[in-house]
C-alpha cells in the first residue's frame, strides 16, 4: 500500500510565486524516505499541503489511499508531523502538551496519559514532564516535538528537519529512535540538510528543486551513480615539491595534506603503491564529503542549469 501518493501537485501563492510545479511522488508503507532539496525548493510547502497547513492550488494527495480532498480527517488521523520550527505552547507543561495533542486525535485522557508517559521515558523527557515547555533546552524541545507527533500512534511520521541545531550525540540517539519506530512499522518521511543523515537512514529518496522533483529513486541506485570519490590524506612528512602521481587526479591542500580523486572501481591500491614509491607515509584518510552530498549538488546544479 502507498503511505503517500502525490499527483500533479501545484502551489502558487497569492503573490504569484509558484512553489510547486506539478510534483509526482509516492512513498510505500513502511519506507524510510528522504525528501531533500535546497532552501526554498518546496519541501516545506509539500509537507504543509500533506498535513493541511497549506492549501494546494491543484493536484491530488492521498494518505494511505485516502484523498485529503475527500476525507481530510481520516487522512490527517494517519499522520504525525514534526515541523521545522518549535510550535508548541511554551507555557504548557510538557506532559499536558502530549495529552492535549492525543485528545485532538480522539484518544481518551487515561489512554493518552499512559502513551505520553511511555514516550516521555523513551525520549528522555520523563524528568521534565511537569516543566513548562519553554524551559526545555533546544534538544529537548526537538524531542518533545517528536513525542507529540507520535502520541496518537500515526502510521506516517513526517519530520521536517528534525535534527537542525541538535548536537551530534543527540542526533545519533534520535536516529536510533527513528530507526526503531520505522522497524516497528511506522512509515517515515524525512527532510534534512544533513545528507549524511538521509544516507544513513533512508532507503528511498526524492530530490526537489525549484518546485520540481529532479530525482526519485532508491538510495542504493542513486549512490551507485557516483563515478568518483574524493579522499583527504593526512601525511606524516611534507610533500615533495615535484610530486607526480601518474593517472591520479590530486591536489595539494597544504604541505602535509593531499586531496585525491579515485574513480569508481579503481580501488586504492594504485594510489598507495605510488605514494610508497615516493616514501610518503599516510597518517589518516577520510572522505572529503559524504557521497550523497556530491550527487545532491550535481542534481541540483543540473536542474538549475536546465531552467
Amino acid at each position: 500500500m502507498k503511505a503517500l501518493y502525490i499527483e500533479k501537485l501545484t502551489k502558487t501563492y497569492h503573490n504569484g510565486f509558484s512553489a510547486l510545479k506539478g510534483i509526482e511522488l509516492s512513498v510505500n508503507e513502511g519506507d524510510f524516505f528522504a525528501l531533500l532539496g535546497p532552501n526554498g525548493a518546496g519541501k516545506s510547502t509539500t509537507i504543509g499541503i500533506i498535513t493541511s497547513l497549506v492549501t494546494k492550488t491543484s493536484g491530488t494527495v492521498k494518505v494511505f489511499e485516502t484523498d485529503i480532498d475527500v476525507d481530510s480527517e481520516t487522512a490527517k488521523s494517519h499522520i504525525g508531523l514534526v515541523p521545522q520550527e518549535f510550535n508548541f505552547n511554551g507555557f504548557e507543561k510538557v506532559k499536558h502538551i502530549l495529552i492535549t495533542q492525543a485528545g485532538y486525535y480522539g484518544m481518551p485522557a487515561k489512554l493518552a496519559e499512559v502513551r505520553a508517559d511511555d514516550l516521555l521515558r523513551q525520549l528522555g523527557l520523563w524528568e521534565k514532564r511537569d516543566t513548562a515547555a519553554r524551559s526545555l533546552s533546544g534538544g529537548m524541545k526537538r524531542r518533545l516535538m517528536i513525542a507529540r507527533a507520535l502520541v496518537h500512534n500515526p502510521k506516517l511520521l513526517i519530520l521536517d528537519e528534525p535534527t537542525a541545531g541538535v548536537d551530534i550525540e543527540l542526533r545519533r540517539s534520535m536516529w536510533l529512535f527513528l530507526e526503531k519506530i520505522n522497524a516497528q512499522g511506522t512509515t517515515i518521511i524525512l527532510t534534512t540538510h544533513y545528507l549524511e543523515e538521509a544516507e544513513n537512514l533512508c532507503r528511498n529518496i526524492a530530490i526537489i528543486d525549484q518546485g520540481r522533483i529532479v530525482e526519485n529513486t532508491d538510495m542504493k541506485s542513486l549512490l551507485n551513480r557516483l563515478d568518483k570519490e574524493m579522499f583527504i590524506l593526512d601525511l606524516k612528512e611534507p610533500l615533495p615539491a615535484d610530486l607526480s602521481l601518474p593517472n591520479i587526479n590530486f591536489k595539494k591542500i597544504d604541505n602535509t595534506t593531499l586531496e585525491v580523486e579515485i574513480k569508481r572501481g579503481e580501488g586504492l591500491n594504485t594510489l598507495f603503491s605510488q605514494l610508497n614509491e615516493h616514501n610518503i607515509e599516510v597518517c589518516s584518510m577520510k572522505n572529503k564529503a559524504n557521497r550523497l552530498e556530491e550527487l545532491f549538488l550535481a542534481l541540483v546544479e543540473k536542474s538549475e542549469a536546465s531552467l
Binding site: T45, T51, E73, N87, F88, G90, F91, T100, G103, G106
Partner: protein
C-alpha cells in the same frame, strides 16, 4: 461513524479543558482584574455617586446597575478570552497542533467559544458574588437570566474569535474592545435607563445590541426592562447564527491560519 463521533467528542472536550486550564492558570490576568474593577464600579458608581442619584426604575441605583455590571464583565471576558487565546495560538504557531489533527473546523470554533463562554460565566459568577457585598440580588426569572447570560457570552466569544482570525498583531485584538465594545457597553444601559435619554438618543440606542442583552438580563433579575424581552432573544439568536456562520466560513477558507 461512532468512532468519528467519539473522536470528535474527545477532541471537543480536550479543547475546552485546555481553554479552561489556560484561564485558570493565568487567573491574576483573567479572573482577578474584573473582580477588582467591578468592585470599584460598585464603590464609586453604586455607593458614592449612586447614593445621591436615588432610585432608578423603582430600585436603588446599586440594585439597578448590578445586573448591567455583571453582564458587562461577562461580555468583555468572553470576548477577551477567545480573542487572546486564539490569537496567541496563531502567534506562537501552536494552532498548527489543531490544524494538523482530524478536528473539524466547527469543533475548533465550538471548543474556543465554549472556553470563552466558560470564562465569561466564571467572571460573571465572581462579580455576582462581589455585588452581594454591596446590594441585595434576587432573581425574578431564572430561565431568562441564565439563558440570556449564556447566549450573550456565546455571542461575544464568537466576536472574539472573528477578531482573532483577522488580527495580525496583539494591537489588533485590543482595537475592537477599546473602540467598539467598551463604548457600546457604556451606552448600552448598564448605568442608566434609556428612558432618561431624549427621544433621538433612545432611538439610536435601539441599534445597540448590548442594550438588549443588559435589559433582558436585568429583566431576569429585577423584572424590569426598557425593551421587549422577545426582541432581545430574537436579536441575540440572529447575531449568534450570523457570527458563527461567518466564523466557520473564515475557518473553512483558512483566513489568517492557512497559507
Amino acid at each position: 461513524m461512532n468512532t468519528r463521533l467519539n473522536r470528535n467528542k474527545v477532541a471537543f472536550n480536550t479543547i475546552v479543558t485546555r481553554e479552561v486550564r489556560r484561564f485558570l492558570r493565568i487567573w491574576p490576568q483573567t479572573l482577578l482584574p474584573p473582580a477588582i474593577t467591578m468592585t470599584l464600579y460598585f464603590i464609586i458608581f453604586g455607593n458614592l455617586i449612586g447614593s445621591r442619584i436615588g432610585e432608578m426604575g423603582g430600585f436603588s441605583y446599586m440594585e439597578y446597575i448590578a445586573p448591567g455590571i455583571i453582564m458587562m464583565s461577562v461580555i468583555n471576558n468572553a470576548y477577551a478570552n477567545v480573542a487572546s487565546s486564539f490569537y496567541s495560538a496563531k502567534f506562537q504557531s501552536h494552532i498548527e497542533e489543531l490544524l494538523v489533527a482530524p478536528v473539524p473546523n466547527y469543533l475548533i470554533l465550538a471548543g474556543y467559544v465554549a472556553g470563552g463562554t466558560a470564562r465569561g460565566l466564571c467572571v460573571g459568577l465572581i462579580v455576582t458574588l462581589v455585588s452581594l457585598f454591596f446590594t441585595h440580588l434576587s432573581i425574578q426569572h431564572l430561565a431568562i437570566t441564565i439563558s440570556m447570560v449564556v447566549l450573550s457570552a456565546v455571542m461575544f466569544a464568537l466576536g472574539g474569535f472573528i477578531n482573532a482570525i483577522y488580527a495580525s498583531s496583539f494591537d489588533e485584538i485590543s482595537i475592537i474592545p477599546t473602540f467598539i465594545l467598551t463604548p457600546l457597553t457604556y451606552l448600552g444601559g448598564v448605568f442608566y435607563s434609556i428612558s432618561l435619554l431624549p427621544d433621538f438618543w433612545q432611538n439610536v440606542s435601539m441599534f445597540n445590541p448590548i442594550l438588549y442583552m443588559v435589559n433582558a438580563f436585568r429583566f431576569g433579575m429585577l423584572g424590569t426592562s426598557d425593551i421587549a424581552i422577545e426582541m432581545a432573544f430574537a436579536i441575540i439568536i440572529i447575531c449568534i447564527i450570523s457570527l458563527s456562520s461567518f466564523a466557520l466560513y473564515l475557518l473553512n477558507k483558512g483566513t489568517g491560519i492557512r497559507n
